[in-house]
Structure formats: C-alpha cells, structure tokens
C-alpha cells in the first residue's frame, strides 16, 4: 500500500519530535499533524506492515519479532532497593511501529469515575503513595468516545450496570460470543453477577478501509495480518502520514533529550540504523516511549543543569510503578469450546470493580473469560498440573483438552509504591553502551490479598459454569510486567508529580510526556484505552498551548 511520506532533515527544526509510535505516540502524531504541525516520530523498532505479520511462534516468541530484544537491550530486576539487580526479562513491550498496540490482546475498558478520585474516597493507605488525578472521568469522557470511534472499538453500550456514563454508543456491535463467553455468562448469572459483551479494540465490521476480524485466533502476541486489530499501526498512523506533515522514522534509538543553556529541550539525540548519533531538532519534544523507557530516557538525559535527570526535580521520575495485579483460573468443559477460534475474550464482568470496604481490601478488579493460548503455549502451560509431561498420556491430554479448556483472568489494581521503580542499572550496559533498564518491584500486600480473593471467585464461577476440571495457582509476587504505569505521574503539585494536567513537565516548558507513565492510578487492569484517551486530550491541550504561543521560546 503506497502512502505519501514526508521526510525532514535532522537540521530542520520541526514543531514536534515524538519518541515512540505506540498507543499514545501514534495518536499524538495523527492529532498534531492533522492540526497543521510538522512532526517526526522516532521509533526504536522496525516499520513492519500487515504483510510482515505471521503466526509462526518461533519468530514471535523466540526471536521477538515485535517486542523488545533483551540480547541488545538487557533488563535487570530486583525486589527491593537494597538488592543488586540481576539480568532478567522483567519487562515486555512492543518494539515496532505501533508499539505494544500491535501485539496486545485488545481489551479496551474505560476507567471508571472512582479511578480518578479514589484517594479522596478511601484516604491514605499504609505503604502506598496514593493520590487523586488532577483530571476527572468527565474530563476524559469525550476522548474515550473519540478512541472508540476513530481507533475502532466493538462493544455494547449499556450492557453493564457498572459502566461509567458515556456520550455515545460504540461504533460497532460486539464481536461474536465464544464458548468461553457462554459458559462464563452462565456461571456468573447463577451467582448473581452481571457479565456482558467485552469491549474490544478489534473491528467486528469493516470500517474506514479496514477489514473485519477473521477470527484466526492469533491475537495476543501477534500482529493482525488483516488490520482488524485497532492498533496505532492500522488506525492512526496511516492518518498521520496522509497529512503529508508526519514522518515516521523507524530503527532510531533515542539516547537523550538535548537541552540548551536556558533549560529548554532542543531535540532528541538518537542512534540511526548505522549507529551514528543524530540530533533531530524540534520546537518541542514529546516522550511516548512507554512507562519504562520514558523515565529511563529522562534519567539518561541528566546534565549539569539537571543532575538528577531531566524533569526530575520532584525525584518522581521512574517511581510509583504499577503493573496491575492478576490471577488466573483454568477450567475444562465436557464439550468442545473451540476457543482457539476468534479473539481471546468475548465476555467480561465488572461486579468487583469497587469492592465492599467490609472485605478489608482496597481497590478492585474485573474478570474476563478467555483463551489466549496458541497451540504451543497451550502444550507448555495449558494442561492441568498433574498431566504426564510426555508419552501417550501427554498426547491424549493435549488432544482432549485443547478444544475444551478456557481461563478466567482476574485483573486488578496495583497500588503505587514509591520504591517500585524503573531506574538506570549502574553495572549493566546495552549494546549501545547506555545503562540498562533496571526494574525494582514488590507487590503491595493488599494487591496480593485482593487477587487471592478474586481467584477464589473465579474458581466459584467455573464451578457454577459446569467445568468438569478446574485449577489455579496461588498468587505470587510479580517479576514480569507488560503494563508499565505511573512512573512519571500527572499532578498539580510539582513536588509530587512529573507532569501537569496538560502533560507538560513541571521543569521543562517544551517537554511533554504522554504514555502509561502519566497515569496516577492503575485502574483495574486494562490501561491502553485510557492511555489513548489521554493522548487525544494531550494533543488538544498541546495544540492550544502552541497556538497561544506558549511553547516556543
């Protein structure tokens, strides 16, 4: 497919350089270029197209075709700040044009009103650095609607009594129900809960020149070869390029944000594909590199003027990391579900979104019925724990269970804990000689307790649904994250946050941050919808500032 592509010289001072082309970066690129600005998007990964996508799991899971590569970008992990971190793949994120939106499952829940003001409602929580957002659900609602209509979300408005208010229905009906959705619905209703069609960022009908989902079943981890998954790559990036003002520049690894003597950002320094260092000049810089790489880049940009890292006068850059909590239960049914067909999820339930305080638990969560296995991952991880590992018994179990198994995934809150963080590893370097990303994380005890409570509910639902066999595993401390939230939080107090409600850093007037790092609370487990709504809102705010002349020197 031919697309007009403008190219800029690095010496051209464009209006905005955006680091990252994922859920937020793609939206910002589209909005700002549509609003008349000249934009360069720097993306560390490749520019893959639908034709490059594959169902070959060796390319996806072994060779990391779409995701960060730890052989060149090592990551270290430790549980607490007094430990020495060790090399470990603790973080997985998209590394291609479209970012993590390319390989995600496409669950697209809005946050609820409570997520923005929960601190005011429940007060301080020991061990947590808990705060309200400086914006409300009502501020974000028009942008949630914009995501649904422009990026493309399928769903059924009014089907959950717990849903927050909305100004418009979904643009498309829900995706087809799956066997797991039918039995989940049956189990939930027996227990008095309210299951409903899952809102998914996958097209149930052809729309805007894109094909509808063909139910191939290769969603989680894979790129969609027909463009039905509503990724930045399939939706907003083509719109940005079509303006003739936006250049997507792949294979460019940003190493620092350069500032001048007045403390203003002048552009992004990056390694080009030949590993030559380049400076793309810009009037303003927007980091949308995800909740791990955005804080890392700010810390890498330390200078005499900003010794603790750029935009880090609060010390909050990289802190308060929230990955969401989770638990999983498995069930095997008597007849064939054939859940390998279709998107992973078709029914969810939000009855536990705000748990009764009498339970002694903070926060809450949502449950979905899913089957997110591929044939290989099912054989490795989808069978009951007592199944033989080899031989006729193993093969027989595979043949019987593959078409009859489903999961209930419990997603929930992560409380912000200040020491949970991303920082620079003092010892390990990446292939370009830059300090590696270091993750420090230990779940808040409440989150583990809450997930145990939710896991028990999931097992009850499987019973009520008629599962012949069911199992799950005790909730454990997490050492691996894909939701990268809260690490440059938004707030009104410059001593306790990194950006204001316009996504502008408190310290650098022409530096903006917008991705998972902006979130103040973690919601209940599905952050991408909110990240994109924030990006649409941020683009409006940044456009207004630029048009009033409040960004340029």
């Amino acid at each position: 497919m031919s697309r007009p592509m403008v190219t800029y010289k690095t010496s051209d001072e464009v209006d905005f350089v955006i680091v990252g082309s994922g859920a937020a970066g793609g939206v910002l690129a589209k909005e700002l270029s549509t609003n008349g600005f000249r934009v360069v998007v720097l993306e560390q990964g490749e520019y893959l197209r639908e034709k490059d996508f594959t169902h070959d799991e060796t390319k996806i899971f072994v060779q990391s075709l779409l995701t960060n590569k730890v052989n060149t970008h090592p990551i270290t992990f430790r549980k607490s700040p007094d430990e020495t971190a060790r090399k470990q793949q603790a973080v997985l994120y998209g590394s291609c044009v479209g970012g993590s939106s390319v390989h995600f499952t496409a669950n697209f829940w809005r946050f609820h009103e409570i997520d923005f003001k929960e601190h005011s409602k429940v007060g301080d929580i020991p061990g947590a650095n808990f705060a309200d957002w400086p914006i409300s659900y009502a501020d974000l609602e028009p942008y949630y609607t914009k995501v649904e209509w422009e990026v493309g979300v399928s769903g059924l408005a009014g089907s959950s009594p717990f849903d927050p208010p909305r100004s418009k229905p979904y643009p498309m009906p829900p995706l087809p129900v799956k066997g797991n959705g039918v039995v989940f619905e049956r189990g939930c209703r027996k227990l008095g809960y309210h299951p409903y069609p899952a809102p998914m960022a996958i097209l149930s009908k052809p729309r805007a020149g894109r094909a509808a989902c063909m139910n191939c079943g290769f969603c989680l981890g894979f790129g969609c070869e027909v463009g039905a998954k509503s990724t930045s790559l399939s939706s907003v990036i083509p719109m940005a390029e079509k303006t003739g003002r936006c250049e997507i520049r792949p294979n460019c690894y940003v190493s620092r944000i350069e500032t001048d003597k007045n403390g203003r950002a002048i552009g992004a320094v990056y390694f080009d594909p030949q590993r030559n260092s380049q400076l793309q000049k810009a009037k303003a810089v927007i980091l949308a590199a995800n909740g791990a790489e955005t804080p890392r880049l700010l810390l890498l940009s330390a200078s005499n003027q900003f010794p603790a890292g750029l935009a880090n006068s609060s010390g909050y850059v990289g802190r308060n990391f929230m990955p969401n909590s989770s638990a999983l239960a498995f069930g095997v049914f008597g007849e064939q579900l054939n859940d390998y067909k279709g998107p992973a999820v078709s029914r969810i339930m939000h009855d536990f979104y705000e748990l009764d305080p009498k339970l002694g638990l903070y926060g809450g969560g949502g449950l979905d019925a899913r089957f997110d296995f591929t044939p290989i991952s099912f054989a490795l991880n989808g069978l009951p724990p007592d199944t033989p590992k080899w031989g006729a018994g193993f093969k027989q179990a595979l043949a019987h269970n593959f078409t009859r198994t489903m999961q209930i995934f419990c997603h929930g809150t992560s409380l912000p804990v200040e020491s949970n963080s991303f920082s620079l590893d003092p010892d390990v370097k990446d292939a370009w000689g830059l300090p590696a990303l270091r993750m420090t994380f230990r779940d808040h005890p409440n989150d583990l307790k809450m997930m145990e409570w939710m896991r028990a509910r999931a097992m009850e639902i499987l019973d009520a649904a008629g599962a012949k066999t069911k199992w799950s595993f005790p909730v454990q401390e997490q050492q691996f994250a894909v939701h990268l939230l809260g690490t440059c939080r938004m707030g009104g107090d410059s001593k306790k946050s990194v950006i204001n409600s316009d996504h502008r850093t408190h310290d650098v007037k022409n530096l903006f941050l917008c991705d998972g790092s902006s979130l103040v609370t973690s919601g209940r487990g599905q952050p991408t919808m909110t990240i994109q709504a924030l990006a649409y809102r941020a683009a409006d705010r940044i456009t207004a500032l630029a048009k009033r002349g409040e960004i340029s020197a």
Binding site: H55, T58, K341, K395, T403
Partner: protein
Amino acid sequence: MKSFDSARREFLHLLGGTAGAAWLTANWPALVSAAEHAHQAAKSEHPALEVFTADQAREVEALAACIIPSGETAGAREAGVVYFIDRALKTFFSEALPVYQNGLEAVQKTTAELFPGVPRFSAATEEQKRKVFSHIVEDSERPESGARRLSPGASPDFFQTLRVHTIFGFLVDPEGGGNRDFVGWKAIGRDPSHGFSAPFGFYDKDYPGWQPVSGETEKK
C-alpha cells in the same frame, strides 16, 4: 480434514464476505505469498540436515517420539520434528546445541547400561525406549546436589530442552518449519483453516444473544 489449499480458499471466501474489494486488491497478494511460502515449508518431507548427522537425527527422532508418540493420530515423527530441531539449532536455538551433544551421549550410555545387547536407543523396543527415557526424565528432575545421576554426563536441561523443542516442532505454524501438513494441529483437534466464523463450538451454537439480567438494569 481440509487440505491447505481448501483452507486457503475458505480464508479468501471469508475475507470476501467481510472486507471491501479495495482492501483485498491491496493486501491479498501478500497474504497469498505468505501462505504459499508456508505450504512449501510444510510439504518438503525430508529437508537436508544442517546440524545433525544422519545417526544423530535418527536418535533425536526416536527421542522426540517418546514425548509425542505416533498412534491413531500423527506424532513427532510424522510432523517432521527432527527437521525443525535441526534448523532451530542452526539458527534461533543455536545455544542449545551442546545440550543435545551431551544429551545424546548420555542416552547412548544409559541404553548400553540398561540393555547391553541394544546397539543404540533408536534400535530398542518401545518398552526399552520408555525405560531409558524414564531415566532421562528422572535425571532431569533430580536436584543436582548429591544425587547419583542415573545417566552420567546428561545435562539436566536435556529433557526440558528436547520437550520444548519437540512441542514447537509438532505444533508450530508450518511456516516455522514443523507441524508438517498440519498433522500436529489435527492431532489436537485444531482446524488448520486460516480464519473462522461463528458459531465456533458446542456451547455457542445455540446462544440466543446477550440479554440484560432481568430487573437489574440500574444496579449502580
């Protein structure tokens, strides 16, 4: 079961039913090309070995068949797992090559120790193979400290490595070089078609459509 070509035709038909002609014109040739490539990779029954010798390949094939045996449905042997592993050791699993070299030696030693008259693992009876393989598995699961190794010299990773690679070779999309003619998918009940339409299975075929819970429209 459907042939690959008929599966591809169904895929085309399915897309035709849901997508606009412009989209198909723009994208279909690339999809056909990818599918053809997969087909070529899947239909070559005896690709050239690049890492294993013929003797080693025979032993690895016999070992993989212990993990996923042949029977009423195809097993690791029919799926061409050994050729997948050979190619993987040349490329993306190359760091595992020493595990195989040590593991094969250990298997040979264990076979000779348990069944002195049997020249090699692959020549053993099925019952003998299961006994030798059980020792390899036990060795893999045994804590390293202080335990007497039943298969001296075997890497504790050998069984786990072989198991993971066998599963990959049996169940990978044929584009990845295993699962020849989709026999692995067929053995676990996965229709090799590239796309599907609802209803998908037993439970959703008579689903009447989503209805709100009666009397609970304003729960909040």
